[in-house]
């Protein structure tokens, strides 16, 4: 249903489910010390925990014996009491070891995954980022890493804890009394099953709720952002209806989850009490028959109480495995992806770009497209020269600009720099020689200085000011109370589109590039500022090559050569004074933008 090209990240597992778990485990075992302490915690916890029922049972029996023996020696009770305290403290310490080390491993894994994830995304190509929404990537970077983290916290050491606890608990229960032990199994098995089934069902519902909630969220957000449309169209009632119906979906599914959850937990509780009753009943008869002591019955009841938690948690456990597999698959899919554009072996470096040549260059964004988005492009750019590119929207102007720093790789033909093919150059070296001011300005949540000196933080303010002056933004920055230390972005001053573009220009001038590319980066400037910046640029451009992409004739009219594009093809080229006299796209655009000239004609 999505009109964007299908995300390459469909869940056609490139690796198996088991592989996912094994890889997560492998990551965990990097933390040898923590794992060792964690397992020590598990062993100690289970060991000390299983002592408590025995101690309590024995205490009850010793106390009971005293009634008949009439002895005044109570030292055994004091010993048992101190043992109980001792074992409890041990249990507390081991519980601490288990939880603390378990969480530390999880935190470590989460940090490792975050770093790997960040590194991968920073190196991935434009094409990759074009295709996969930031929202999608972010949900992987946040929710999926969280899912794996939760699994490590709850799934890894806890699985071991619960398994050993259930195993030894059942064994001790069976050893205390075989019949009672077997009855207890009547509880353990159905409860584990119920807990698992209801968890897995809940998981499905929760995933649905999450989706429905994000629709509700979008709904509300659009209502607020689009408030003017809602008002202008009198759409208030319609909006309320829409909101209610999407909320109704969330509510209904939440109710469903409540039903499943309530059924599950109350059934588990019921089974527990049922077994409790049976044990007392059977145990009671056994005591009357002299086959069991009251202490042993108490011991069994306490064992059962102790088993209740781990058995319930089995469901959670299974759920965390299921979640880890989904999350892990989605994560590893990104971590295993390889950037298509990278420096090749034995690459060359250059000191200065002396020439830039396009030879029959063709390119398309989507492999499946029938025809190229730009086709048979030939051009040559030398220091001191300015080329302007103009054409209707979608004619491929920006595409040409983006091919030069290898943000995309050409499909046909080749681009040569200093007569060597682009692909043989070191990528960082190449990009450092090119300043591309793109159409959309992105500012980081940082100071103005940092945003301009983005390519080289810790630079001198003077250098920053020098380029800010050329980009005609210095005066504005200087008028702010904190000047270059003013924060921009989410938490800082809000800037107009024109101010943002000027910052982007300054940022690229700061790179001191050999090739300057302006990709429609004067569009938000008024014609006056546009002119002013172009005048100031003149001396800067002297020894550099310049490529200007624009929709505005006035921005490119002074170029040494103007290339007119239409549907990816060069339809005309030449100087302004020649092109404006010829009938064609260039003249049409010129007349549209200069109504007064049109009157003259």
């Amino acid at each position: 249903m999505n009109i964007k090209f299908k995300s390459p990240l469909h869940l056609n597992s490139h690796i198996g489910e088991l592989t996912v778990l094994i890889r997560i485990f492998k990551m965990c075992f990097k933390y040898k010390k923590l794992i060792t302490f964690g397992f020590l915690g598990v062993g100690g916890l289970v060991g000390s925990q299983l002592w408590i029922p025995y101690l309590l049972g024995t205490s009850v029996d010793r106390a009971y014996e005293k009634i008949s023996s009439n002895s005044t020696d109570f030292s055994i009770l004091w010993i048992l009491a101190s043992l109980i305290i001792f074992v409890s403290v041990l249990r507390g310490i081991f519980a601490f070891l288990l939880q603390y080390n378990g969480e530390k491993i999880a935190n470590g894994i989460s940090a490792d995954l975050r770093n790997l994830f960040h590194k991968k995304l920073q190196s991935q190509t434009y094409k990759y980022h074009d295709r996969i929404h930031t929202g999608n990537l972010m949900s992987r970077g946040i929710l999926d890493i969280e899912g794996v983290k939760m699994f490590v916290t709850t799934g890894l050491l806890r699985t071991f804890e619960i398994m050993t606890l259930i195993f030894f608990g059942s064994y001790l229960l069976l050893r205390t009394d075989l019949q009672i032990g077997l009855i207890a199994f009547g509880f353990i098995i159905p409860v584990a099953l119920i807990a698992t089934i209801s968890r897995l069902r809940l998981r499905k519902i929760w995933n649905r709720i999450q989706k429905e909630f994000s629709i509700l969220n979008t709904n509300l957000q659009e209502n607020l952002i689009g408030v003017k449309v809602v008002r202008a169209f009198g759409g208030e009632d319609y909006e309320v209806k829409k909101f209610r119906s999407s909320h109704r979906e969330v509510t209904n599914d939440t109710m469903n989850s409540v039903k499943v959850d309530a059924t599950g937990t109350s059934l588990v509780g019921f089974f527990f009490l049922l077994v409790w009753a049976f044990i007392i009943w059977v145990g009671g008869h056994k005591i009357i028959d002299g086959e069991l002591t009251i202490g042993e019955l108490t011991q069994c009841l306490v064992y059962l109480g102790m088993l209740q938690r781990p058995v319930r948690i089995v469901g959670l456990m299974v759920n965390s495995y299921a979640r880890a597999i989904t999350c892990g698959l989605r994560l590893f899919e990104i971590l295993d992806s390889k950037p298509r554009i990278a420096t090749i072996k034995n690459s060359n470096s250059i000191n200065k770009i002396e020439s830039l040549k396009f030879e029959n260059v063709g390119f398309k964004y989507y492999f499946k497209s029938k025809k190229n988005d730009v086709n048979k492009i030939n051009l040559e750019l030398k220091p001191g020269k300015i080329i302007g590119i103009i054409g209707p929207p979608g004619s491929g102007k920006s595409t040409i600009a983006n091919l030069i720093p290898r943000f995309y790789d050409v499909l046909d033909g080749q681009i040569l720099i200093n007569e060597t093919p682009l692909k043989t150059l070191n990528l960082n070296n190449l990009r450092s020689r090119i300043g591309l001011v793109s159409q959309h300005t992105f500012l980081f949540n940082s100071t103005l200085k940092e945003n301009i000196a983005y390519s080289k933080p810790d630079s001198d303010l003077e250098d920053v000011i020098r380029v800010a002056k050329i980009a005609d933004i210095h005066e504005f920055i200087d008028s702010l109370p904190q000047k270059y230390e003013t924060m921009v972005g989410e938490f800082g001053v809000s800037l107009s589109g024109g101010q943002k573009q000027r910052l982007a220009i300054a940022r690229n001038l700061f790179k001191n590039p050999d090739v300057l590319i302006f990709d429609d980066s004067f569009s938000a400037l008024d014609t006056g500022t546009d002119k002013k910046i172009r005048e100031r640029l003149v001396s800067f451009q002297k020894n550099r090559s310049t490529l200007i992409v624009s929709q505005r004739v006035s921005t490119i009219s002074h170029s040494d050569e103007i290339i007119v594009l239409d549907q990816g093809n060069i339809v005309d080229r030449g100087k302004h004074k020649d092109l404006v006299c010829k009938d064609g796209i260039y003249k049409t655009i010129f007349e549209l933008q200069n109504p007064k000239m049109q009157v003259k004609h």
Binding site: I84, Q122, A232, I294, P393
Partner: protein
């Protein structure tokens, strides 16, 4: 340096914000919240009953065990043992049913309340005038409608379950005292220690957790920023520096989460010590008392079973307290929003407006957004039937305000606005909006199909949608989309260009088919090509309509019947293109300088 200071400030702010979400009990908020529960009175009553039943079932069982041991087993009474077994099963059933009912009923009521409050807030938001529903505040409104209401719902659930917890404490206390007061007194001495431990530990642990959460959201914020800015990063070859910065944030968070883990796990040893101490107290005291014959063995067992249940409600109650604090703060924010007065209401005897000609008249209109900062002063003009009028002027001249006022988005200070001789303040707002079509500067796209977006709320057929689309010239590009009119447009129309979005919103306005058509700077973000397309469409659309075109590019309004030139809230000149040129005033100045917009005149 500056950034690290800023970052620390951010962390502190985030924590303070979280801590600031706690405020003490407020009777007023509680009372108003109670009104939302009222419709579910009977159900809530059922919920409380089931909580009580559940508590009784839970607490009766150790007592039943005691009775079984002391009266049936010790006395070798097998038939009593059998009867007690049946009774135990009965209690298990009671436990089962009340547990199921309490969970379902309470959480369902919670969901209903959530729905009701959110709906009420949403409806209220729709009625507020534009000045309140400013888009700059939408983040905070979102968090109120979604987040704060959730906190209030939690309060309800926590409140009902707190009844159970309190009841548990009270009943256990009564039971153990009636079983044996000296042992009960012993246990009761330990509980304050536990409570003190919780009260001492909870705020510290919470602070550590909040700190970890805050630094985690900073990590996610940086990740988000770096992913969004990845193109700049690659252009500037900043990958390595960014990676280092990110890893530094991750490391900070790693340390914070570890210290939070220390707090989370650190509570275990002291709590286990207290539990162990309580049990050994029972063992020693019980042992002495049982062997002395003053207490039966079942009592000792019952005490051992009750001890576990004594700790849980205390733990839960201390948690409920912070829920209450959070909910109070949320309640304040919710009611604050609901209390914003609706400033533009229909007049008492408002009738539906009847627009047949589309004549618009401004009479001595004064208007200001903020007190004493007049935007329009004594404005007088008339737009006649089927006339096309261009409104031009520099930024801040008041041209956009005029469009908003015709639609009554804002209330004027003095004067009157008439449409077909009816004062717009005397007619219903809904009829007004049905008679004015507007294309706005920012084309808004709702998530949904192309057809749904063009239709918006209208009951139009597919054919009508296509016809409107053809007139404005959007049909061609819609047909190139993979599913034509059924193509789903992404959030805010990310998958089509701004120009295409504008064409769709133009079609949407056209489909409303009203006599008055307003273009509010609708072409300012559009390239010359799309603008020409819209120009052509406009000529057809405005044939039988009254049109107002607000623009700051002169090419857009050159052909209008009448051009009103505004400056600083006043009319400078009125006339058609030729007349204004001959006036040799502001319009002429702009035109002869060959500047495309007024803002270029400095």
């Amino acid at each position: 340096m500056a950034t690290s200071i800023n970052k620390n400030k951010k962390i502190v702010n985030a924590i303070e914000e979280d801590l600031g979400q706690l405020s003490s009990y407020d009777g007023d908020v509680a009372k108003r919240f109670f009104k939302f529960i009222k419709p579910y009175k009977t159900k809530a009553f059922l919920g409380v009953i089931s909580v009580i039943t559940f508590t009784i079932a839970v607490l009766a069982i150790p007592l039943l065990v005691k009775f079984t041991i002391d009266n049936a087993i010790s006395d070798n009474n097998e038939s009593l043992l059998n009867n007690l077994f049946i009774l135990l099963i009965g209690f298990a059933l009671m436990h089962f049913i009340s547990n199921y009912v309490q969970q379902r009923v309470i959480r369902e009521i919670g969901e209903h309340i959530l729905f009701d409050i959110r709906s009420k807030m949403f409806v209220h938001l729709q009625k507020l005038s534009m000045s309140v529903a400013d888009r700059s505040k939408y983040g905070s409104i979102m968090s109120r409608v979604l987040g704060d209401v959730g906190a209030l719902q939690e309060l309800f659930q926590a409140g009902v379950f707190a009844i159970g917890d309190m009841l548990t404490l009270i009943i256990i206390t009564i039971i153990i005292f009636s079983l044996n007061w000296s042992m009960a007194l012993g246990i009761l001495m330990i509980m304050p220690v536990f409570l003190a431990l919780r009260i001492f530990w909870l705020p510290k642990a919470r602070k550590a957790f909040l700190k970890a959460r805050a630094s985690s959201s900073i990590v996610n914020g940086v990740l988000n920023e770096h992913v969004n800015g990845v193109r700049v990063t690659q252009n500037m070859i900043r990958e390595d520096i960014n990676q280092k910065r990110f890893e530094r944030e991750v490391n900070t968070n790693f340390n914070d989460t570890n210290s939070a883990a220390k707090y989370g796990a650190g509570i275990h040893p002291p709590v286990e010590l207290l539990v162990g101490a309580t049990m050994s107290l029972i063992v020693v005291m019980g042992g002495y008392l049982v062997s002395g014959g003053s207490v039966e063995i079942g009592v000792m067992i019952a005490f051992l079973l009750y001890v576990q249940r004594f700790f849980d409600p205390i733990r839960a109650l201390t948690m409920h307290y912070s829920t209450l604090q959070r909910a109070m703060a949320s309640g304040h924010r919710i009611f604050e929003l609901l209390d914003i007065e609706i400033d533009i209401k229909d007049a008492k005897d408002a009738k539906d407006i009847n627009v047949s000609k589309g004549k618009i008249e401004f009479k001595n209109v004064d208007f200001e957004y903020n007190y004493n900062e007049p935007v329009l002063r004594k404005l007088n003009f008339v737009i006649n039937e089927n006339e096309t009028v261009g409104l031009v002027g520099p930024t801040g001249s008041g041209k956009t305000s005029i469009a908003s006022l015709i639609h009554r988005f804002y209330e004027i200070k003095n004067g009157n606005i008439f449409i077909d001789n009816q004062d717009i303040q005397q007619v219903t707002q809904s009829s007004l909006s049905n008679n004015i079509s507007m294309v706005l500067q920012d084309p808004i796209i709702f998530s949904g199909t192309v057809e749904e977006n063009i239709k918006y709320k209208a009951n139009a057929t597919r054919e009508e949608v296509i016809e409107a689309s053809k007139i404005v010239g959007s049909h061609e590009f819609v047909m190139t989309l993979p599913n034509g009119y059924d193509t789903i447009l992404e959030e805010s129309g990310a998958n089509i260009s701004v120009g295409q979005r504008q064409l769709l919103s133009f079609a949407r306005a056209l489909l409303l088919d009203s006599k008055i058509f307003i273009l509010d700077e609708a072409t300012s973000y559009i390239d010359s090509y799309t603008e020409r397309q819209i120009q052509n469409a406009l000529e057809r659309v405005l044939e039988n309509r009254t049109g107002i075109i607000i623009a700051h590019r002169l090419s857009t309004i050159k052909n209008a019947d009448k051009i009103i030139v505004l400056n600083k809230g006043e009319i400078v000149e009125i006339g058609n293109h030729e007349k204004l040129l001959s006036n040799k005033n502001l319009y002429w100045k702009l035109w002869s300088n060959n500047e495309s917009s007024f803002d270029d005149l400095n």
